[in-house]
């Protein structure tokens, strides 16, 4: 497992954000945190094994994803990017300049039909192409759920390896963004984690996003790649300019600790890091793991960690946390010193005005860590 030195710069989300049109957003609305802003600056969390001098650029997540897509379309003439509004760059600008560079026959808009977008992508992939389908918001992925679960996941299996749709990658922005409401904030990754045959990958930062996306596209299995939309502009990092991949099904230890293991993915890790910082003042040492690939997930690394610490706080985005909790309880039962706990959103549909109360905030995580440690 390659562990890299990286730096994390992102704007912390505190209570009562001040909403407004950010002047730097280039027209796309972003939550403007106004005076209550605080930056988490460069954090060198893990020592790198190979002290290579990589040329890097300081860019945000959508630019990193854009670079990855440019790289793929450059290197493989049979790769295609399609979805709603990808032509002009996409509503999150992830596909900027692709159409101009590679042409309308490789980067094209589809009509508004998610089921057909993914189904068509499966067809393309089964013919040996790399189909990169974009679903505009993960909340809209449900019409395509049938195609992903019933077709993409089973394609290789049911044809006895005569055909496969490994070239399919479905990208979707997911997660809360502060003002999204019911249908622009959902985190549906758990639905896909119960389907054998596909992989689910979620990056936490721009450099991770580029590497994981390149790995996902090149992986010979269909991958659903969720991008935390909250981090598209807010997460800024030094990202290597060259073509690199990060391994799938390999979790990463972001912070070493000895009292409790926290497992998470995507945007939530930033909040978890804040919680870890806060409890470290109380002398609780947290080990923070980024799962990166949700299925198939890196069980060994998490088990090793729990065997070391004896406590587990499983994913804060709920759903898939159940699988992790069950698995760890099974394998590390005698070592556990406290029940596995989960901190997630509440059991209601994603609310509109009540989002600050719904979200698994830093305080909720801190409380859960303390409860687990003091069990």
């Amino acid at each position: 497992m390659v562990r890299r030195r990286f730096s994390f710069g992102l704007v912390s989300r505190l209570s009562s954000p001040i909403y407004g049109r950010s002047p730097c957003s280039g027209g796309i609305w972003t939550p403007c945190l106004g005076q209550k802003r605080s930056f988490m600056t460069a954090k060198d969390l893990v020592e790198s094994e190979e002290p290579e001098k990589k040329v890097t650029n300081r860019i945000n997540m959508f630019s990193a994803i854009n670079q990855a897509l440019h790289t793929v379309l450059d290197s493989d003439p049979k790769s295609y990017v399609f979805g709603e509004d990808v032509g002009f760059g996409g509503v999150f600008r992830c596909t900027t300049a692709l159409r101009d560079k590679f042409g309308r026959h490789r980067v094209f808009n589809t009509p508004l039909c998610e089921q057909a977008i993914v189904g068509f992508g499966i067809g393309l992939a089964s013919m040996g192409n790399r189909a990169i389908a974009e679903i505009q918001f993960a909340d809209y992925i449900f019409p395509a759920l049938d195609q992903i679960v019933n077709e993409a996941a089973k394609y290789r299996y049911r044809s006895g390896n005569l055909f496969n749709c490994g070239g399919l990658t479905v990208r979707a922005p997911y997660g809360a963004v502060g003002h999204g409401g019911h249908y622009h904030s959902q985190s549906p990754e758990a639905f896909f984690c119960h389907v054998p045959g596909i992989k689910v990958v979620i990056p936490r930062s721009p450099s991770q996003a580029k590497g994981l996306l390149l790995a996902s596209i090149r992986d010979p299995n269909p991958v659903v790649f969720f991008e935390p939309k909250w981090l598209y502009r807010l997460a800024v990092e030094e990202v290597p300019v060259d073509d690199y991949t990060l391994p799938l099904s390999s979790a990463e230890v972001m912070r070493k600790g000895s009292d409790i293991t926290l497992v998470g993915w995507g945007a939530q890790l930033a909040i978890m890091e804040e919680a870890c910082d806060e409890v470290s003042k109380l002398g609780i040492s947290c080990e923070l793991i980024d799962l990166r690939t949700l299925i198939p997930w890196d069980k060994e690394l998490v088990e090793d960690s729990v065997n070391k610490t004896g406590r587990l706080l499983a994913p804060v985005t709920g759903g898939f946390g159940a699988e992790i909790a069950a698995s760890i309880t099974n394998s590390c039962f005698l070592r556990l010193q406290a029940p596995v706990s989960r901190v997630c959103g509440l059991d209601t549909p994603f609310p509109l005005v009540f989002e600050p109360f719904y979200m698994p905030t830093k305080n909720k995580i801190v409380d859960a860590i303390k409860a687990s440690v003091n069990f």
Partner: protein, 339 residues
């Protein structure tokens, strides 16, 4: 129409002042469609809409105060602040909802139409057959749900009217570049359904076509598909910089502004005087101002509302074993809400 326009302009102002938030989609330019159709309906008729639903709500009779309060997320809004801009509902006025997801409202309208027909024909209830209208856009006309519903509605001859507000753009996708046959009204006859194409910038023409469709539905002769050629003057939403549409196209449609056109018609045919029109506008301004003040002064919903209405029985979820709402539990504010 004037109410719709003033209201939407005020929405934009309030949004940029930070009073409302989220994704807001304004209806400027398309008012003729809403007015033309919905003003023919009774309170017992049904309307389903899209995320661009403020003016549909206003046309259907939902008070401007309630709509504005809903946009501000206040508890006096039509959905008690739960829905927001894209989810206006009103049981009293038969507004079955704005829907954030495209095409989701069409099957709902078809279901409501089935109920109307059933109540009248099987249960022999008195009164006019309530009609349902489903509003949606050109992008939705490429979606599977649309076709499935056209088939069902015509098969069972349901009193539903499908109104396509073709404003030529689905965020950044031009209708002509995403549809094999851009003439949407032609999709009706493929299902054996009566259909029409109308200039959606002219409220009187829309009303004519709408009348025929509503009468057909009330008689029990089945559904109609109507394509209204219209245009939105603003971007897709208040976050959309609207860079993709050609200025020439925008200018062309701005010249066909439905409100300006109707004004001209009224003045030319001496149906109303300048003074009367001005007094209407003044009254509308007062209504909108009053709506904003009301919404501003209204309280935010209590935190207990977060857990309400997930299921039918609040005790099954929202109320804890001690008989109080779970979110009144002190642990809630501390952060460890175990729900």
């Amino acid at each position: 129409m004037v109410l719709g326009r003033s209201f939407e302009d005020m929405c934009a102002q309030m949004y940029y002042r930070g009073k409302m938030f989220g994704f807001v989609h304004l209806y400027n330019g398309q008012e003729a469609v809403s007015t033309g159709f919905i003003k023919l309906l009774k309170q017992t008729d049904f309307v389903t809409s899209t995320y661009r639903d403020h003016v549909h709500a206003l046309s259907k009779g939902v008070p401007a105060r309630q709509v504005m309060a809903e946009l501000f997320g206040k508890s006096t809004g039509c959905c008690r602040g739960q829905g927001g801009s894209m989810h206006m509902f009103s049981a009293e006025h038969g507004l079955l909802g704005g829907f954030a997801f495209i095409g989701e409202g069409i099957p709902v309208a078809v279901g409501a139409a089935f109920t109307s027909k059933y109540k009248r024909e099987v249960l022999k209830e008195e009164g006019d057959m309530p009609v349902s209208i489903a509003f949606f856009g050109d992008g939705t006309a490429n979606n599977g749900q649309f076709f499935e519903c056209l088939n069902m509605a015509q098969l069972w001859k349901l009193p539903v009217i499908f109104v396509v507000e073709n404003n030529l753009w689905a965020i950044g996708m031009s209708h002509y570049r995403s549809t094999s046959d851009p003439e949407i009204w032609k999709k009706g006859p493929a299902f054996g359904m009566a259909s029409a194409h109308v200039d959606g910038m002219d409220v009187l023409k829309v009303r004519e076509v709408a009348k025929e469709a509503v009468e057909r539905a009330r008689r029990g002769d089945g559904p109609t598909l109507i394509e209204c050629e219209t245009y939105r003057f603003r971007g897709h939403s208040l976050a959309d910089p609207d860079e993709l549409r050609a200025p020439a196209e925008k200018a062309h449609y701005a010249a066909r502004d439905p409100i300006v056109a109707l004004k001209k018609y009224l003045l030319d045919n001496e149906i109303a005087t300048e003074a009367e029109l001005k007094s209407i506008e003044k009254k509308i301004d007062e209504v909108v101002e009053d709506a904003v003040e009301f919404a501003d002064a209204s309280p935010l919903p209590g935190r207990s509302q977060l857990l309400e209405n997930v299921f039918a029985d609040p005790k099954g979820f929202g109320i804890g074993p001690d008989g109080r709402y779970r979110c009144e539990d002190p642990g809630f504010t501390a952060g460890t809400a175990q729900v």
